[in-house]
């Protein structure tokens, strides 16, 4: 594995399976008496969260602490409205404090990339969600959860059909999931109104459809994405009612799924909007497990990035793109 985890595309199939297998082992260990492993003793992990996210931050904090790493939490509201200290100055401070890894969540797409490649810090950078770009550890815990239920907890997801529904345009979870799931051999279909699918979706390694009902009978897993009601004001869809009628997972649709199919959601949920309360609480829903799996998957990521010798970087992230002679 490389020094950083910035995008799900950083992981090839072997890397991805290594993370999932390591997470499985760690899950088994921490299920038993062992609550704390000494492996990252003496290492410092900084949680640099520029967006409110108690759930993800606590997940990373628990993961680091179970490996005996020291954890420093830095919460900042960084926005164009209240410009506090610049990302650069914060990074230089963290470097001076000896951060071995920085877990960063930031509203600007590409902020983890800047942190990793600017030379401000020397440690590993883990992307905990950047703008509408990526959220690789979420995709990993989603894949882990799917593997548990659909593949006996081992191997990849070859041939499994995963349907992801919702605001793909603004979803970093969707982007990371499409990349990782296709690396693991799954067949992914995105479902959304045309306004919520990004330009160039035909080039993505997945299918897409505007019709949710047509996808239900074949899906092994359905992942619902959070849809913000405010998007209605920017004319992405006319009303919440129309959105949930056409794209919401209600009980009728849930019953149209195959017996074994699971329902997932990265959280937080808009109950009644993209997912009915009864569906969220049904026994098909693995939403709570996703959270548990998150800690184990993040432990695996921190272990693989920090426990061993530092590796080199992947090539070619900064090449000068030229236009050749006509």
């Amino acid at each position: 594995m490389n020094r950083h985890l910035l995008s799900a595309a950083d992981l090839d199939r072997d890397d991805a399976l290594l993370v999932l297998d390591t997470a499985a082992e760690l899950a088994a260990l921490t299920d038993r008496a062992v609550k704390k492993l000494p492996t990252l003793r003496g290492r410092t992990v900084v949680n640099l969260f520029y967006e409110d996210s108690t759930r993800t931050r606590i997940s990373f904090e628990a993961a680091a602490k179970r490996l005996s790493a020291d954890v420093i939490n830095f919460s900042a509201k960084g926005s164009s409205v209240s410009k506090g200290e610049s990302l650069k100055d914060t990074a230089l401070t963290l470097e001076a404090m000896g951060a071995d890894a920085v877990v960063i969540r930031h509203p600007a797409s590409g902020a983890p990339d800047r942190l990793a490649h600017s030379g401000w810090i020397g440690g590993s950078v883990v992307n905990a969600g950047d703008g509408t770009h990526e959220h690789p550890t979420q995709a990993l815990l989603d894949a882990f959860t799917m593997r548990q239920h659909l593949a006996g907890g081992k191997g990849d997801l070859a041939g499994r059909k995963v349907t992801i529904v919702g605001d793909v345009l603004h979803s970093r979870v969707a982007r990371s999931n499409v990349l990782l799931l296709s690396t693991l051999g799954a067949e992914v279909t995105l479902v959304a109104p045309p306004t919520l699918l990004p330009v160039g979706i035909e080039t993505w390694p997945c299918e897409f459809s505007f019709d949710l009902d047509s996808q239900l009978s074949r899906a092994d897993a359905v992942m619902m994405l959070r849809v913000q009601r405010e998007r209605m004001n920017a004319a992405f869809f006319p009303s919440s009612r129309e959105y949930s009628r056409r794209y919401g997972l209600d009980v009728r649709r849930m019953n149209a799924l195959p017996e074994h199919a699971i329902v997932m959601h990265p959280g937080p949920m808009n109950r009644g909007m993209e997912i009915a309360a009864d569906v969220a609480d049904s026994d098909r829903s693995v939403i709570v497990e996703q959270v548990t799996n998150g800690v184990n998957v993040r432990m695996a990521v921190l272990y693989l990035l920090l426990a061993g010798a530092q590796l080199g970087e992947p090539e070619g992230s900064d090449r000068m793109a030229e236009v050749t002679a006509p």
Binding site: L37, L306, A307
Partner: protein, 192 residues
């Protein structure tokens, strides 16, 4: 002690234990365990992956033949407790599986193929202390090759094979490598 008598040339690989030697050594170890634990009543065998686990299984089977009782067998991966993690890229974890009856107040016999510096066993002791509190911990190894760096000693040894640090001890087990043999390779020099 060492049976083979042919003079060695540098870089040659020679077999120091063949499959019969291994079988006899394991049988003897099994008998020793039964004897020293006065019947192997409350013992648990924990093999250190990968080959230690196969050896633990074989020993358990032999004890079963001797005493007519099933002995709990498990595996204990020590990767997360190594003291040399930073010297190589992060390693994949191997399975840890503790028998349902646990290890508290039991006599745990750790089983490994080769005992060398003792650091692996030190890590195994740390790993176990996070899992429970055995009454006693003992160590069974197929080969003791010397060069201890910590105050660790085996309770049961299949074979003592003095080696030079430049030599490699290669253990093959049927279940994993397709054949049973212990071989030595590399130059022999004055032993320390």
């Amino acid at each position: 002690m060492v049976g083979v008598s042919a003079a060695r040339t540098p870089d040659e690989t020679r077999t120091v234990l063949d499959s019969d030697d291994i079988a006899r050594a394991l049988t003897r170890v099994a008998h020793e365990i039964v004897e020293r634990t006065k019947g192997a009543d409350d013992i648990v065998l924990l093999g250190i992956p990968t080959r230690g686990v196969y050896l633990a299984n074989r020993i358990a089977e032999r004890i079963h033949q001797i005493e007519g009782r099933e002995i709990p067998v498990g595996s204990l991966d020590i990767t997360l407790y190594r003291d040399d993690l930073r010297r190589a890229p992060a390693r994949a974890l191997l399975p840890t599986s503790i028998p349902a009856s646990g290890i508290d107040d039991k006599v745990v016999v750790l089983v490994d193929d080769v005992l060398y510096s003792g650091r692996t066993i030190r890590a195994a002791l740390d790993a176990m202390s996070d899992i429970g509190r055995p009454r006693m911990v003992q160590l069974a190894v197929l080969v003791d090759r010397g060069h201890r760096e910590l105050p660790i000693r085996p309770d049961y040894v299949g074979k003592n094979i003095p080696t030079a640090k430049t030599e490699k001890v290669l253990v093959h087990l049927e279940e994993f490598d397709g054949d049973d043999a212990v071989r030595l390779s590399g130059q022999s020099q004055e032993e320390s």
